[in-house]
């Protein structure tokens, strides 16, 4: 039955995530950004509410939830602070991706150890993210940027497979353009041992799709927050005798920003639903990511624009939103790789949007 609302169970989860973001992330965002890490209170509160184990299989002590849950929670945490959201969650985008690649056995072998180590981080490099060369069981090369101060597990996706690196990762700190609450670093691998995963092209594509959904949820939250902040500001700020939101040029801009975010949300939710329903979802996830990144190109800068000079100042959050949104859109191959994958997926269908399948699209 066609139903566009999350289940009651998920609604409670969303509420939990929203309360956490309101209490521990939003007001602390500048502090976390400066410290390049969430504070101790946020870390301990996050551990208590159980959001860290979202995709962790129940066998490994997690909630075993899927992509819809991740998208919904990601939006709430992203609206608070996407950098902190990444830092708080050891496994981050790697959890769901690893499950696609190696199932629960790979998960318990590679990921579970991180759950025992406070502050540990896992990251994922998609094809094109890095110049990594695998030579036998060793890997060399550079990942130019990861939003992390340490990396305990690096999952590397290749077009036809995947491998993992757990040691020999040289982490060199960077200033970071955005997501600084998660830290920023360049990774150097000089013959680090690579653990091959038994994965084919399809599994690799699904893993990448999962990672895109993860980033997409956070990105959507950033964009939502930017629109809400700019809309609120524009109703307060008076120029030429009326709130600036009531000048039609800005009223329409704010409307277009809101439309862009709402539209992107539907593509994300549909792709996430497909993943949970066991349908092909890699193309949909790529498409949703393209849309969110395109939306961010409007919303990020426009939110700053609405605030004018104030928007440019770090006293307001919109400049941060603009930076965070921009760099979230660079992750996991960025928009070009997503567009490529989405385009190929559409063209693999006989009639791309016909109602020939057992679903909307």
């Amino acid at each position: 039955m066609f139903e566009l609302e999350p289940s009651e169970e998920l609604a409670i989860l969303v509420e939990t995530a929203r309360n956490f973001a309101d209490g521990q992330l939003t007001a602390q965002a500048r502090e976390h950004e400066a410290a390049r890490s969430p504070n101790a209170a946020a870390l301990s509160a996050f551990a208590q509410i159980g959001l860290a184990g979202l995709e962790v299989p129940e066998a490994s002590g997690g909630a075993g939830l899927g992509a819809v849950a991740r998208a919904l929670v990601g939006e709430e945490l992203g609206a608070g602070d996407p950098g902190a959201a990444l830092a708080l969650d050891s496994l981050g985008p790697v959890a769901a991706a690893l499950l696609e690649l190696g199932g629960e056995s790979a998960f318990s072998e590679l990921a579970e150890p991180l759950l025992e180590v406070p502050g540990s981080r896992a990251w994922l490099a998609a094809p094109g993210d890095a110049t990594l060369v695998r030579d036998g069981g060793r890997v060399r090369g550079v990942v130019p940027w990861v939003p992390a101060e340490r990396v305990d597990l690096l999952l590397v996706l290749e077009p036809e497979g995947a491998f993992a690196v757990t040691e020999g990762i040289d982490v060199r700190s960077l200033p970071g353009a955005g997501l600084r609450a998660a830290g920023a670093a360049e990774l150097h691998l000089e013959g680090a041992p690579a653990v091959a995963l038994r994965a084919d092209a399809a599994a690799s594509a699904r893993a990448l799709g999962r990672a895109r959904l993860h980033a997409n949820g956070l990105l959507l939250g950033v964009l939502r927050q930017a629109v809400e902040f700019a809309s609120g500001y524009a109703q307060e700020r008076v120029a030429f005798g009326r709130p600036i939101a009531h000048h039609q040029a800005l009223a329409f801009l704010l409307t277009d920003m809101r439309m862009a975010v709402d539209g992107a949300r539907w593509l994300l939710w549909e792709a996430a639903w497909r993943a949970d329903a066991g349908l092909d979802f890699a193309g949909s996830a790529a498409s949703a990511f393209v849309e969110a990144v395109e939306a961010s190109r409007l919303v990020g800068p426009a939110a700053v624009q609405v605030l004018g000079g104030h928007g440019f100042m770090q006293d307001y959050p919109v400049e941060k939103s603009m930076r965070e949104a921009r760099v979230l859109g660079l992750l996991f191959g960025g928009i070009d790789a997503a567009r490529e994958d989405a385009g190929r997926a559409w063209l693999a269908a006989d009639l791309p949007l016909a109602f020939s399948h057992g679903e909307v699209l």
């Binding site: 039955m1 139903e3 009223a251 593509l267 109602f355």
Partner: protein, 393 residues
């Protein structure tokens, strides 16, 4: 959360698809080539009746209306998309009580339903009705209409002019929106049934359009047209209780996501043609071609989901003002983008004037104009989101 379309709806869509391919699109192409609306005696219209279309939803005197099915609006939107995929102009040309039916059902008296919808219960021939709001000086600003209604004993006299009215010259009756006092704005507006052939109604001028040629968009005068009291929609007492303008706006509200779905359907037709063209010319490996197709498909899917969201809210009797207007603003824009990208993909073939995408490019433009332009939709959304005041200044 579940995006699956119920199997009953999918079956209906498959049926529409067959019908669309066999009858709807050929009729639309014919009208486009001829540059004129399908004539009243066109066999397509007879075949509509044979399919059981062109009838009223009104069950007849003393009969109970069928309760609306769960998900009825979502279903309607999916069908509206599929029908427009085949030819949106032909759908509007199709016989039936059309746009004013909802108003007559919700506001009309029993006598009015029997008189004006009765002939549509089992129509003996293709019959049409239409709703006339737009005027040369009142498009999106529907409160500005100047067609005047004045009392004359037990009758009303209507005087003014209407334009761009769908199916007007072939309609059995026209529901005409008029004002008792142009200075009093929306609350002074009323709707009147004017039967075809009433002295003073006409002449009908069938406009030449850029696209959607299959149905007539007609302008006409109302020269001291005399109608009895009983032709005031809902009767006089009704207006003492509520403002007249709301009637018209209610119709518009229900219609927005349908227009949006139409735009998606037209855009999707362009997408399929573009994909076929790219395959035929062995260009699917060209990244520029693939990127255009990716954009078309992604944006159309998005617009579809935004439409369905508006419908889903309506099915739950939840407020959908923002979503309905957003769907219309967005889908019309997306439809235009998709057809324009399709034209780019065709290259010079798009300039020939005989490719379906070229027709769709012309057709879809109207989706950003009818039932409130994209700008009007943004104003409606902005009122809700940032409290944009209604009045100028």
């Amino acid at each position: 959360m579940d995006f699956e379309v119920p199997s009953e709806v999918r079956e209906r869509l498959a049926d529409v698809r067959e019908w669309g391919k066999a009858a709807v699109r050929p009729a639309g192409l014919e009208a486009d080539r001829n540059g004129a609306p399908l004539p009243v005696d066109h066999p397509y219209f007879v075949s509509c009746l044979e399919r059981g279309e062109g009838c009223t939803r009104w069950p007849g005197i003393g009969r109970k209306a069928r309760p609306s099915q769960p998900g009825a609006t979502v279903r309607t939107l999916l069908l509206a998309e599929e029908l427009a995929y085949w030819d949106r102009g032909v759908i509007i040309a199709s016989p039936g009580p059309g746009l004013p039916e909802g108003n007559v059902l919700s506001m009309g008296t029993d006598e009015q339903r029997e008189r004006f919808l009765g002939p549509f219960l089992e129509p003996d021939r293709p019959r049409w009705a239409c709703f006339a709001m737009t005027e040369p000086g009142a498009g999106s600003d529907a409160a500005a209409i100047r067609t005047v209604a004045r009392r004359d004993g037990s009758h009303w006299i209507l005087h003014g002019a209407k334009c761009f009215i769908g199916n007007a010259s072939r309609a059995d009756w026209i529901l005409v929106q008029a004002t008792l006092d142009p200075e009093k704005g929306r609350s002074a507006q009323r709707a009147f049934f004017v039967e075809n052939g009433t002295p003073g109604l006409g002449p009908f001028k069938i406009e030449k359009k850029m696209g959607l040629k299959a149905y007539e968009s007609t302008s006409f005068g109302l020269e001291e047209v005399r109608v009895p009291d009983s032709h005031l929609l809902g009767g006089e007492a009704r207006y003492e209780r509520s403002a007249g303008f709301k009637t018209a706006m209610a119709t518009f509200n229900a219609g927005r996501p349908v227009i949006a779905a139409n735009a998606v359907g037209i855009g999707r037709a362009a997408l399929d043609e573009a994909v076929a063209f790219a395959r035929e010319h062995d260009r699917v490996e060209d990244p520029r071609v693939r990127d255009r197709i990716e954009t078309m498909a992604r944006r159309l899917k998005l617009a579809r989901l935004v439409c369905l969201r508006a419908g889903w809210l309506a099915d739950r009797q939840r407020a959908n003002i923002v979503e309905a207007s957003m769907s219309k603003a967005l889908a019309a824009q997306v439809g235009q983008e998709a057809t324009a990208l399709g034209m780019e993909l065709l290259g010079l073939v798009g300039g020939r004037g005989d490719h379906l995408i070229e027709k769709l490019y012309r057709d879809v433009k109207a989706m950003d104009i009818v039932e409130g332009t994209g700008q009007i939709q943004r104003m409606i959304v902005a009122r809700q989101l940032v409290g944009l005041p209604r009045d100028r200044g």
